[in-house]
């Protein structure tokens, strides 16, 4: 075997190494955690080494190819400059993430599954970037998508499962779109990624369809707007190293696919692209990318869960990459600048976003939560992590001398050129959106850093956080080094990029021109600094004006839109599927009647029928009645099926299967920090669940609310009130007068939500919000409001801020067809009960709640009852019932006084045996 032969095996080796490592993991898994980590780490290191080893060959020849006679005839592995760039980033990131995972998963019970999945995904990713034809590309794309599912659901729990389902559905849809596109490309006679798809007269429609399908399919993976809905959930649910890989590498697979589609398959030779002649594909990508980046960043700004913020930031950053590809496509022969920017941004985003996710992994490992409302002040406790996050944030916000600055500058110039070439206002507008997005990115990252690391700790966990272990720090350190290195010497990447662009027959002078220095070109520096300072300003303004309280409209998240579309189509499809059954059921209802009708018609002649004395009008009426009956039978059958479907679907979504926790008084103290990626963090699984706390009615996207403890029941966080998570008040410990107002936490002591009460006060007393605020500032004690819906006259215990030890128990009872929320001591008026005054009655309990547990009965809570003493019977205020019919002289006036029974709740009894 010659050296050249070995080189030709290079791409193959690159793919096989992780697969072999995955096989080695199986025996290593029996020998314990450390050998597992060692094998995984060694494998990724070897993969990185083999990618680096390919560097000279690729730089020399431009492309290295290996062919295996498998699957559909042959699997081609062919790596060029672009592929190698991706392969290098992939293996480097994988190495860092594996290093990090060794520490992160110390207490995980399935390290083998994680590493196995991770190495299989690495195989797929490397196969993807070394694929030489579209079929190979598709094979590994599908493989990557499926293996990543196991990473998404690794943490387990309902949230991960929901995220997993969403991920799987979207991935499969995307995969099938890609398959259809690949089939069309194959039918058009193409398939080799090294040569563009030929243009054949009469098949333009097919050609366009293939492009659309491929871009849509890869767009799912790339998190392009509208198709990104899986991304925030999956990133939040996955363990931090997996999130880093998902965001850093795997979504780049989508970008890679789009890049290959746009630049290789539909590249220069296939069609002559005149500059600025409105190339539809380029324009579409530009528009799509602009929308993605802007909406992504807006969504990121309003997130509360740190990982979710980063995930939306990833969506936004993928928009940058799409814009680069679109601009390159739009510019045609001058498009090298766009590809340069996009490819560089792929590398950069991979580095800093992986670093951010790994750092958040360290934070989550230290505090048990990624909820920014409960973090803060970690800079002092985790100085190294803080430093690394600063580096990454500098990278992503485009601070000069950090890597993001270079790529964003290049992309900005590409967009400017496209705008100039397009002569249109639309692209000029896109350029402005680009700038605004940079500002938004800066604001979002500043928000993240301030809320997680600065200010005062807002929870015990944040107060006691510790620095990350050495392996995590090492992984983050290496990544930080790379962020700075690329920022300082971007030109180091230019030979590889130039090689890549050469394969697409694009001039490479641009690469050298744009990647010469770390300070960019005329105006870049100023623009970056301006964007950063504007971003800081935006954050301050948003925080000070409480704009973070008022989230942007829900449709911006697209989540519900796309999910509703998918669910709607599934439902429609299933309705069609049940059509036969409905018809059968309908026929079953219809058959006897039809039979009877036929018998009547056949057996009795018309004259006989007349002789029976049935008048024709009645017969018609009877016929109509039968038809109506049959129709109703059909409808009923259809309805039954629809209801069953609905139930099935809801079951599938897990709505009816929310986790239920045991009621126990012992858990009443303090916090229960949510499990990482666990089921309780509802805030983590949807953007703005507009559900309200069943205790106090405050809305759950606020800091004070959390998880649905059971079916649709939302509760505030009990325990010490959380200082306002968006404001600086966390630092104002010395000014207690401001705190109560901003304390977003519901006080455990009686369900008065300070935040809510603000609204209520404004509504009831006509006082403006500001007046209430001033009022509160003057008061020495925090003001509290009684929830307007609870007619409680019970004196509430003092809302001591350290009220975690106060146990409050409440119940929801049902009597007289109404439900009431009661606590011991409440006096309330019920529909009349047959009981003597002074007697004690037992009221059935539907739901039992306490400090952090809720027991939901089905329908009643077994063993629980509310003891109430009947105070008096009485009649309510007079109700006037006035009936009037026009022009008929019909007037009736009635009065009514509804009898009621006033009871005082003496006790809520629970034997603790309820579910």
């Amino acid at each position: 075997v010659t050296a050249a032969g070995l080189t030709h095996l290079g791409p193959l080796l690159l793919v096989v190494v992780p697969l072999l490592g995955a096989l080695l993991l199986l025996p290593a898994g029996r020998r314990g955690r450390s050998s597992l980590d060692t094998v995984a780490l060694t494998t990724t290191a070897v993969a990185l080494a083999s990618a680096v080893a390919l560097l000279p060959a690729v730089l020399a020849h431009g492309r290295v190819t290996a062919v295996l006679p498998l699957v559909l005839g042959q699997v081609t592995f062919s790596i060029d400059g672009v592929g190698l760039l991706f392969a290098l980033v992939t293996t480097f990131l994988w190495l860092c993430a594996t290093l990090h995972a060794g520490a992160y998963l110390r207490h995980d019970d399935r390290p083998l599954r994680f590493h196995l999945t991770s190495l299989v995904a690495l195989t797929a990713m490397l196969g993807l970037v070394t694929a030489g034809d579209v079929v190979t590309l598709y094979v590994f794309f599908e493989w990557l998508g499926l293996s990543a599912y196991l990473l998404v659901v690794h943490a387990g729990g309902a949230a991960a499962e929901r995220a997993g389902v969403k991920y799987l559905v979207m991935t499969l849809l995307g995969g099938f779109a890609v398959l259809a596109g690949v089939l069309l490309v194959h039918a058009l006679g193409g398939g080799d990624l090294a040569s563009p798809l030929g243009v054949e007269a009469g098949r333009e429609g097919l050609r366009a369809a293939a492009a659309v399908l491929l871009v849509l399919g890869f767009g799912v993976k790339a998190g392009a707007l509208g198709l990104h809905i899986w991304l925030p959930d999956a990133h939040t649910a996955a363990p931090a190293p997996a999130s880093a890989l998902l965001s850093g590498v795997m979504i780049k697979a989508g970008a890679y696919g789009i890049l290959r589609t746009v630049a290789s398959l539909y590249g220069a030779e296939g069609e002559a692209v005149a500059v600025g002649q409105g190339d539809a594909l380029g324009l579409a990508l530009l528009g799509w990318g602009t929308a993605t980046m802007s909406i992504g960043v807006v969504m990121a700004l309003w997130q509360r869960e740190a990982k979710r913020l980063l995930a939306y930031s990833s969506v936004s950053q993928m928009g940058f990459i799409l814009v680069g590809i679109g601009a390159a496509r739009f510019l045609g022969e001058d498009g090298a600048i766009g590809y340069t920017g996009a490819l560089l941004h792929v590398v950069n985003h991979a580095l800093f976003k992986a670093l951010l996710f790994l750092a958040l992994g360290a934070v989550i490992g230290a505090t048990g939560s990624g909820d920014m409302a409960r973090l803060g002040g970690l800079a002092r406790r985790m100085p190294w992590t803080f430093a690394f996050v600063l580096v990454a944030a500098a990278g992503i916000t485009g601070v000069p001398f950090f890597n993001g600055f270079v790529s964003k500058s290049v992309l900005h110039h590409a967009l400017e050129y496209a705008a100039a070439a397009g002569h249109g206002t639309a692209l000029g507008f896109a350029e402005r959106v680009f700038t605004l997005t940079t500002v938004g990115t800066a604001a979002a990252l500043i928000k993240l850093v301030t809320m997680v690391f600065l200010g005062r700790p807002r929870s015990d966990a944040a107060r006691t956080g510790v620095e990350a272990p050495g392996r995590m720090l090492a992984a983050m350190g290496v990544l930080s080094f790379a962020v700075v290195a690329v920022g300082l010497r971007p030109q180091a990447l230019s030979p590889l990029l130039a090689r890549g662009l050469e394969t697409w027959r694009l001039p490479t002078v641009d690469v050298e021109r744009w990647l010469t220095s770390p300070i960019g070109h005329g105006g870049d520096l100023e623009a970056a600094l301006l964007a950063f300072s504007l971003g800081a300003l935006v954050h301050v303004v948003l925080a000070r004006t409480r704009a973070y309280d008022r989230p942007p409209p829900i449709w911006l998240s697209q989540d519900r839109l796309v999910l509703a579309a998918i669910r709607g189509s599934v439902l429609a499809v299933q309705r069609i599927g049940t059509l036969r059954a409905s018809l059968e059921a309908g026929a079953r209802g219809l058959a006897p009647r039809v039979g009877k009708g036929v018998r009547e018609v056949v057996l009795r002649t018309p004259s006989a029928a007349r002789g029976a004395g049935v008048p024709p009008a009645e017969r018609i009426h009877e016929g109509a009645r039968r038809l109506d009956l049959a129709w109703r039978g059909l409808l009923r059958a259809a309805e039954g099926w629809a209801r069953r479907l609905d139930r099935t679907l809801r079951l599938r979504e897990g709505q009816a299967a929310a986790p239920r926790r045991r009621w126990s008084r012992s858990t009443a103290s303090g916090w229960s920090s949510p499990r990482v990626g666990g089921s309780s963090a509802k805030a983590a699984t949807s953007d703005w669940p507009w559900a309200c706390c069943s205790r106090c009615g405050c809305c759950s996207w606020r800091a004070c609310c959390r998880s649905p403890a059971a079916d649709g029941v939302w509760l505030c966080i009990p325990g010490p009130p959380t200082p306002g998570w968006w404001s600086r008040s966390s630092a104002s410990a010395g000014r207690p007068s401001r705190r109560p107002l901003e304390a977003a936490g519901c006080l455990a002591t009686g369900g008065s939500c300070l935040l809510h009460s603000r609204f209520w006060c404004a509504a009831s007393s006509g006082a403006s919000h500001r007046r209430w605020r001033n009022h509160a500032r003057q008061a020495s004690e925090p003001k509290r409001c009684v929830h307007p819906r609870t007619s409680s006259t019970r004196p509430r215990p003092s809302a001591g801020l350290g009220a975690s030890e106060v146990i409050s128990m409440y119940a929801i009872i049902e009597t007289g067809g109404k439900q009431y929320r009661v606590q011991a001591g409440d006096v309330l008026r019920l529909e009349k009960i047959e009981a003597e005054a002074g007697a004690t009655v037992d009221l059935p309990v539907l739901l039992l709640g306490g400090d952090d547990t809720v027991t939901v009965g089905a329908p009643r809570v077994d063993g629980a009852s509310v003891k109430a003493e009947v105070v008096a019977h009485g009649r309510g205020p007079k109700i006037h019932i006035y009936k009037f019919k026009a022009k008929t002289n019909y007037r009736r006036h009635n009065g009514h006084r509804q009898p009621y029974t006033e009871v005082r709740v003496t006790d809520i009894v629970h034997d603790g045996a309820g579910r």
Binding site: P69, L70, V71, L72, G73, Q74, V135, Y138, V139, E142, W143, L146, V153, G156, G157, A158, E161, G164, V165, L168, L172, L173, F176, L179, A180, L183, L184, H186, A187, V573, Q574, I576, G577, T578, R580, T648, L651, R652, G654, A656, A657, P659
Partner: protein, 533 residues
């Protein structure tokens, strides 16, 4: 016409009649061995099945060379005789039948431990002979005879449980199939009336000069007749009932190769009786394609709604087998070849799925998808086999299903059948919809939804004993805690065939291009039908 009764000197040429005769010998052995211990005659059956498989494989190199083996077996009248003729399509189907029958037989040895065992095994071997007869039939009469006998024998296998539901399902089955059979007979009579001959040969018996009305009636008689077995909507009614009722190994055969017998019949009629040219002239194929497309979608949609696992798989068979009819109906060489490949791949994939369903039932008593939560912890091998086959059937690369669906897609695009491609992809997507939830549930990734899983003893309680007496596993009545992690993996006699068949998904996927694999044979068959190279 005189039909010489010849047996060629070549040993290979003796293969086909021998392959038919060996299983019949097995039936004879079972019938006679009333006093022999079961292990003896079961051993003999396995040997016979291996021999049959080898014989069916021995003809493959011959047909790959482009030769056709012909053997005249028996003259009944001057117009009707039994005649075996092995071409590429027949060899492909025959090898599939024999290849799935062997693991199913081994599996049956472990699975069918109670009830009328000898009846089961005797009929099983006779059924093998008949299925091979369908594969190797040289004229319509032979095809019809074996097809009908196989159908009747199937009845005895479906009612093995002798439970009321099994008897009802078998009754439904036999009613459907006999009506279908008479339609085939009608078609055959018309064909004989028109052509004066019944022999099958590429290019077809009939030609465009014959009366169109007769041709149309004959065609639709054939399609409706074979369509019953091929489970074309609306003739599919027996499938979802018969599969859950039959013992798992026979469900696998029913779904894997016996439904395919109907589709194979449609292919024979399409290409060897009518011929592509005549059918194009008649213009009937778009209608058949529409029926097949509807079947794909309806079958998949109905599968989505089933909770009973075997029922879900049965609907999946309806959907998957309609791909074949769809591809045949489009009259493209590539599509027809891909359809034959899919026939083979589907047989093994679906066989493995039914085997796994049987093992789950055997181990935990769970027959519903909702009862399978977390079964992987206790039956890892079974679950792995199921996962592999399910992914294969969905068509994920590089497994077998991907290969056949890929070539189907390419074949459909060759004849510019865009809507058919959409149907194919939609069917695959729906296949993911009805198979992946099973996998996800089995691995316990999703939270438990149903109390059924607890009832099935997967979480804590001791496993429930299955109701059917034949499937009573030796479940130790351990304490709940002890039972939680107890392995319920089936004995080797059940597990080995399951895993082996599932592993074929990978083999057929990765090596699909190798010589002697289904693709090469199918291309040879399509070349014969369409006159290609």
């Amino acid at each position: 016409v005189t039909a010489p009764l010849t047996c060629p000197a070549s040993l290979v040429a003796c293969g086909p009649p021998l392959a038919l005769g060996l299983p019949l010998l097995g039936t004879l052995i079972v019938a006679l061995a009333t006093r022999t211990p079961p292990r003896w005659w079961l051993g003999a059956l396995v040997l016979i099945s291996v021999g049959t498989l080898l014989l069916s494989l021995a003809v493959v190199p011959v047909v790959l060379r482009g030769d056709t083996l012909e053997v005249f077996v028996m003259v009944l009248t001057s117009q009707l005789w039994l005649h075996l003729r092995v071409d590429a399509a027949g060899a492909l189907y025959g090898a599939t039948v024999a290849g799935l029958w062997l693991p199913a037989l081994v599996y049956s040895i472990g699975f069918v431990r109670t009830g009328p065992r000898r009846r089961y095994f005797g009929f099983l071997m006779a059924c093998l002979a008949c299925a091979l007869g369908v594969a190797y039939a040289g004229n319509l009469f032979t095809l019809f005879i074996f097809y009908e006998i196989a159908a009747v024998l199937t009845y005895a296998l479906v009612i093995h449980d002798e439970s009321p539901s099994a008897i009802a399902a078998a009754m439904k089955y036999i009613a459907y199939v006999l009506v279908g059979g008479s339609l085939i007979l009608a078609g055959m009579i018309i064909t004989f009336f028109l052509a004066g001959d019944l022999s099958l040969a590429a290019g077809g018996l009939l030609h465009a000069g014959m009366p169109v009305g007769h041709l149309l009636v004959a065609f639709w008689c054939f399609v409706a007749g074979f369509g019953v077995k091929a489970a074309l909507v609306p003739l599919h009614g027996w499938v979802p009932d018969a599969h859950p009722a039959a013992p798992a190994p026979f469900s696998a055969l029913l779904s894997g190769v016996l439904v395919a017998a109907g589709t194979f019949g449609i292919a024979r009629v399409t290409f060897d009786v009518f011929g592509p040219d005549l059918l194009r002239a008649l213009g009937v194929m778009p209608f058949l394609a529409a029926v097949a497309g509807v079947t794909v979608l309806v079958g998949a949609l109905m599968a989505l709604l089933q909770d009973d696992l075997k029922r879900r798989l049965a609907y999946s068979t309806i959907s998957q087998m309609a791909y074949l009819t769809l591809a045949f109906a489009l009259l493209g060489a590539g599509a027809a070849a891909a359809a034959l490949v899919h026939l083979v791949h589907h047989a093994y994939l679906k066989g493995a799925l039914f085997f796994c369903a049987g093992l789950w039932r055997h181990g935990t008593g769970a027959r519903r998808v909702s009862e399978l939560h977390g079964v992987a912890a206790r039956m890892p091998w079974t679950t792995a086999a199921f996962t592999l086959s399910a992914l294969g059937l969905i068509g994920l690369p590089p497994l077998a299903g991907f290969v056949s669906k890929w070539w189907l897609g390419v074949g459909l695009l060759e004849v510019d059948a865009g809507p058919a491609l959409a149907v194919l992809l939609a069917g695959s997507l729906l296949a993911a919809g009805y198979l992946l939830p099973v996998v996800v549930a089995a691995y316990g990734i999703a939270p438990r939804r149903s109390p059924g899983a607890e009832a099935a003893g997967l979480a804590g309680a001791a496993p429930r004993r299955p109701r059917a007496a034949q499937e009573v596993p030796a479940v130790p009545s351990a304490s709940a805690e002890g039972a939680r992690h107890r392995r319920l993996e089936a004995p080797a006699v059940l597990l080995v065939p399951t895993v082996a068949v599932a592993a074929l998904a990978l083999v057929f996927g990765i090596a699909s291009h190798a010589d002697g694999f289904p693709l090469a044979l199918a291309r040879r068959a399509a070349a014969a039908w369409f006159g290609g190279p």
